[in-house]
C-alpha cells in the first residue's frame, strides 16, 4: 500500500514536472469510471481548444475507490484534486463543512435556473450551488408490456405497491424462468439500501426520528421488509441476495424479469436493441406508492465540485461550467446522438423535441426526478436530507451494515423480525458512538 502510494505520488510529481512547460494551469480531475464520464474525457479537446492555458489530468476510478480517495483527500486537506466527482450524498455534508468552493463564477451563459429544481436543491446549501450536476437520475418501474398483457393487466402511469405485487405474482412463471419482479438484494448502502430506503419512504417509514433515534423497531419498517421479502420469495429470481444494478440489468435484458424497479438511466440500456432482447417490449411507470403521499423513487446526481483545498479554483470552475453546460449536451448530441446525452440535469433538455423523439423514456424520467424531494423525503418529519440515504458522514458505514443484515434476510438466513432487531441495535450503537444520541 505504502509502496503503491509513493509510486502514485512519484507519478504525479513526474506528470506535474512534464506538463508545466506545456500549460500554465494543470487541473487534476477525479472521476468515476462510468460510460458518461469516459465519454467526457474523449471530448475534452473542445474545452482545451478554447482554454489553451489549462491542461487536464484524469484520475478515473471505480465508484467505491473514488469515494475513498476523494473523501480522505478532502478531509485531510490533501489538495491532490482540483475537480472531484461526487454524488448528492457528499455534496450537502461537504458543503456544510466548508470543504467545497461555492460555484458562483460559472459564466454568464451557464443558466443556473435551467437546472432541474430537485437536483439543484440536493446540491445547494443556503441557496448557493456547491456542485454542478453532470447527470441525474431517479428510479422508476420498467416493465414488459407483453407479459403485462398476458397477465391481463394494464400498468397505470402511477401504480400502487399493491398493484405491482399482484402483477408480479401473476407474471411469474418459474418453469420458464420468468420472474415477475427483479429488485436489488446485494448488500451496500448504494445497492440494496438505496432501493429499500426509498421504498420504506413510500411505506411511511424513516431512518431516524427527530431525535436521531433509529426507527427499525417501528411497524412501518416491519411492513416494508416483510412486503419486500415475501414479494421476492413469491416472484423474484433465485439468488436475489447478490443481485445489484448490473445483475438485474442482465436479467431484464435477457427477458427473465417482468418488472424491474431501478435507476432511470437503465431505460436507455433496456431499450437499446444491441444490448436488450426485449428492447421493443418495455414500458415505464413511476415508482409505486402506498397512497401516503410519497413514492418509492430516489434521487441521485453525479456532480462536479471544486474542493476548497484546490489552488486553481478559478480554472476548475471554468472546467465544471463547460462539462455541465448546455453546450456540452449539444456537443455530445452532435457526436454521439441525442439518446446518449447525459440526462436528468436541465429543464431545457426535456423541452427539446429531438431529445424527446430519441428517448421515449424522457418524460417518465423527468416526472420521476421531479417527484423526489431530498429535503422532505419521508411522510413523518426527519432531521436529515436525502431520499435513499441519510446525508450524515456516518451513513456509509451504517447503511452498509444494515444492508448486509437485510441481504442476509433475503438469502433466508434471518427472519424479518431478527433482521430488524439487529439493524436497530447496530444503528443505535453507531449513532450513540457518533454522539447523535445523547
Amino acid at each position: 500500500m505504502k509502496a503503491m502510494l509513493t509510486g502514485v505520488l512519484g507519478a504525479f510529481a513526474l506528470a506535474a514536472l512534464s506538463t508545466t512547460t506545456l500549460a500554465d494551469t494543470k487541473l487534476t480531475i477525479a472521476t468515476v469510471n462510468n460510460g458518461d464520464m469516459v465519454r467526457m474525457q474523449k471530448l475534452t479537446d473542445d474545452f482545451t481548444k478554447t482554454n489553451p492555458d489549462i491542461s487536464l489530468e484524469w484520475v478515473t476510478l471505480e465508484e467505491n475507490v473514488l469515494r475513498q480517495k476523494v473523501t480522505t483527500d478532502i478531509a485531510t486537506k490533501g489538495g491532490q484534486f482540483d475537480v472531484m466527482t461526487i454524488g448528492t450524498y457528499e455534496a450537502p455534508i461537504w458543503a456544510k463543512k466548508g470543504w467545497l468552493v461555492p460555484l458562483d463564477s460559472l459564466g454568464a451563459d451557464y443558466d443556473v435556473d435551467d437546472l432541474l429544481p430537485a437536483i439543484r436543491g440536493g446540491l445547494s446549501m443556503n441557496g448557493k450551488l456547491f456542485a454542478a450536476p453532470f447527470y441525474g437520475e431517479s428510479s422508476m418501474v420498467m416493465y414488459r408490456t407483453d407479459l403485462m398483457e398476458k397477465a391481463g393487466l394494464k400498468m397505470p402511469d402511477a401504480p400502487s405497491w399493491e398493484f405491482v405485487a399482484d402483477a408480479a405474482r401473476k407474471m411469474t412463471d418459474k418453469a420458464s424462468e420468468t420472474y415477475g419482479i427483479c429488485l436489488r438484494g446485494k448488500a451496500g448502502w448504494g445497492e440494496n439500501m438505496a432501493f429499500l430506503s426509498a421504498t420504506a419512504n413510500s411505506f411511511g417509514a424513516r431512518w431516524f426520528d427527530e431525535n436521531w433515534k433509529p426507527q427499525f423497531d417501528q411497524p412501518e419498517w416491519k411492513n416494508t421488509l416483510t412486503f419486500y421479502l415475501k414479494l421476492m420469495q413469491d416472484a423474484g429470481p433465485p439468488g436475489a441476495s447478490s443481485n445489484g444494478f448490473n445483475e438485474n440489468l442482465a436479467l431484464f435484458n435477457s427477458g427473465k424479469c417482468g418488472m424491474w424497479i431501478d435507476a432511470t438511466v437503465a431505460a436507455s440500456f433496456v431499450t437499446n436493441p444491441k444490448d436488450s432482447k426485449v428492447a421493443d417490449k418495455v414500458g415505464f411507470a413511476l415508482a409505486p406508492d402506498n397512497g401516503l403521499g410519497k413514492r418509492g423513487n430516489w434521487l441521485w446526481a453525479w456532480s462536479l465540485a471544486v474542493p476548497a483545498s484546490s489552488q486553481k479554483a478559478e480554472a476548475a470552475q471554468k472546467f465544471v461550467s463547460w462539462a455541465t453546460s448546455k453546450h456540452y449536451i449539444e456537443l455530445v448530441a452532435a457526436k454521439e446522438g441525442w439518446a446518449n446525452v447525459p440526462p436528468g440535469t436541465r429543464t431545457s433538455l426535456y423541452k427539446n423535441p429531438e431529445y424527446l423523439k430519441a428517448a421515449p423514456f424522457a418524460q417518465m424520467t423527468l416526472d420521476s426526478i421531479n417527484s423526489a424531494d431530498p429535503t422532505k423525503p419521508t411522510v413523518k418529519p426527519v432531521p436529515y436530507v436525502g431520499v435513499q440515504f441519510v446525508a450524515i458522514p456516518e451513513f456509509q458505514g451504517i447503511g452498509t451494515t444494515v444492508g448486509q443484515i437485510f441481504s442476509a434476510a433475503l438469502a433466508g438466513e434471518k427472519t424479518a423480525d431478527d433482521a430488524l432487531a439487529e439493524a436497530q441495535t447496530a444503528t443505535t450503537r453507531e449513532m450513540t458512538k457518533a454522539g447523535y444520541i445523547k
Binding site: T71, S242, A434
Partner: protein, 287 residues
C-alpha cells in the same frame, strides 16, 4: 580491562541501529495508541476529544467483532489443516523419482508467487463465478445448480483461495525436510520389511515435526493478516476477519479512533498467539 572497553564499544556501535529500530516501532505504535483514545472521525475534523477507553469498549462489544474473531480463527485453522495435510502428501509424492520432476516441482510452487489480489480476481471471475465460472460450468454440465460461492459459502471460498496460495509453501518446506531424511534409516527400514504406513508414521512423521511447527508459525503470522482475498471478492460482510473490520472502521466509517482501537486489539491478540506459538516451537526445537 580491555574486555569491558570492547563491550562498551560494541554497545556504542550497535546503539544507532537499535535506536532507529526502536523509534521505527514505537512511533507508529504510540501514535496509534494516542488516536485510539480520541473521538476522531475523519469526516468531522476539529471535533477531536479525549474519550479514554470508549473506542475499545465499542470495538470489543461490537457483534461484528465476535464474527470477525471467529472468521479469523476459522480461516487460520482451516488453511493450516489443508496446507499441512495436503503439503505432507504432496511432498511425499514429489519425493518420488518421476519424469520431469523438476518441472513438476516448479509448477507446484508457482501459486506462492502469484500476488493475492491477482489470485483473488482470477478465482472470483474465472472459477467461482456462478454464471461464467469453471465450477459453474462443471456443475451445469452434470445437471446440477451451480453454487454462488460468494453468496452461499463466502468463508469457504476465501479458505479455498488462501489455501491454494499457501499449500505450495508448506509443500516446499516439507519436501526439503523429507529429502534430508537419512538414507541409511530408509534402507534399514526397507530391509526390515516395514509396511509403508508404519514407515510414514514412525519415521517420516517424527522427522517432519520440526518443519511442521515452522510452517505453523510462519503461516499463522501471515494468515492472521489475510485481507486482499476478502476485499477483492467483496465477502467482507459475512466472511470479514479482524483486519477487514479495522479497514471497515477506518475507511468506510472514516472513524480513525475506532480503527486505531481495533488495530491495537489486533496487535494484542496477535502477540498472545505469538507468545504461545513461540513457546510451543521453542519446546519442540529444544527436545
Amino acid at each position: 580491562m580491555a574486555t569491558q572497553q570492547t563491550r562498551l564499544l560494541g554497545k556504542l556501535a550497535v546503539a544507532p541501529s537499535v535506536v532507529v529500530l526502536f523509534l521505527w516501532m514505537i512511533v507508529p505504535l504510540a501514535l496509534t495508541i494516542y488516536f485510539s483514545l480520541l473521538r476522531y472521525n475523519l469526516l468531522d475534523p476539529g471535533n477531536e476529544s479525549f474519550v479514554g477507553i470508549f473506542n475499545y469498549q465499542y470495538f470489543l462489544t461490537d457483534p461484528a467483532f465476535f464474527l470477525a474473531i471467529g472468521n479469523s480463527l476459522k480461516l487460520v485453522f482451516a488453511v493450516l489443516a489443508i496446507s499441512i495435510i495436503g503439503g505432507t502428501l504432496l511432498a511425499l509424492l514429489l519425493d518420488q523419482a518421476i519424469v520431469g520432476r523438476n518441472i513438476v516441482r516448479l509448477m507446484i510452487i508457482a501459486p506462492f508467487f502469484v500476488m493475492p489480489t491477482v489470485s483473488a480476481l482470477v478465482w472470483k471471475n474465472m472459477f467461482m463465478h456462478p454464471v461464467s465460472g469453471l465450477f459453474a460450468w462443471l456443475m451445469k454440465s452434470v445437471g446440477l445448480q451451480p453454487i454462488d460461492w460468494f453468496a452461499q459459502a463466502p468463508l469457504t471460498a476465501v479458505i479455498i483461495m488462501v489455501a491454494w496460495q499457501w499449500l505450495p509453501f508448506a509443500t516446499l518446506i516439507l519436501l526439503t525436510a523429507i529429502q534430508s531424511l537419512d538414507e541409511e534409516q530408509k534402507e534399514a527400514a526397507e530391509m526390515d520389511g516395514t509396511p509403508p504406513l508404519s514407515f510414514f508414521y514412525y519415521i517420516v512423521l517424527p522427522h517432519l515435526a520440526r518443519p511442521i511447527t515452522v510452517v505453523i508459525l510462519i503461516e499463522t503470522i501471515f494468515l492472521l493478516n489475510v485481507f486482499a482475498e476478502i476485499y477483492v471478492t467483496g465477502t467482507g460482510g459475512p466472511a470479514g476477519n479482524l483486519p477487514y473490520l479495522v479497514y471497515f472502521q477506518g475507511l468506510l466509517n472514516f472513524d480513525v479512533g475506532g480503527a486505531s482501537a481495533g488495530g491495537i486489539v489486533a496487535v494484542v491478540l496477535a502477540n498472545i498467539v505469538a507468545f504461545f506459538l513461540i513457546r510451543m516451537i521453542g519446546r519442540n526445537l529444544e527436545s
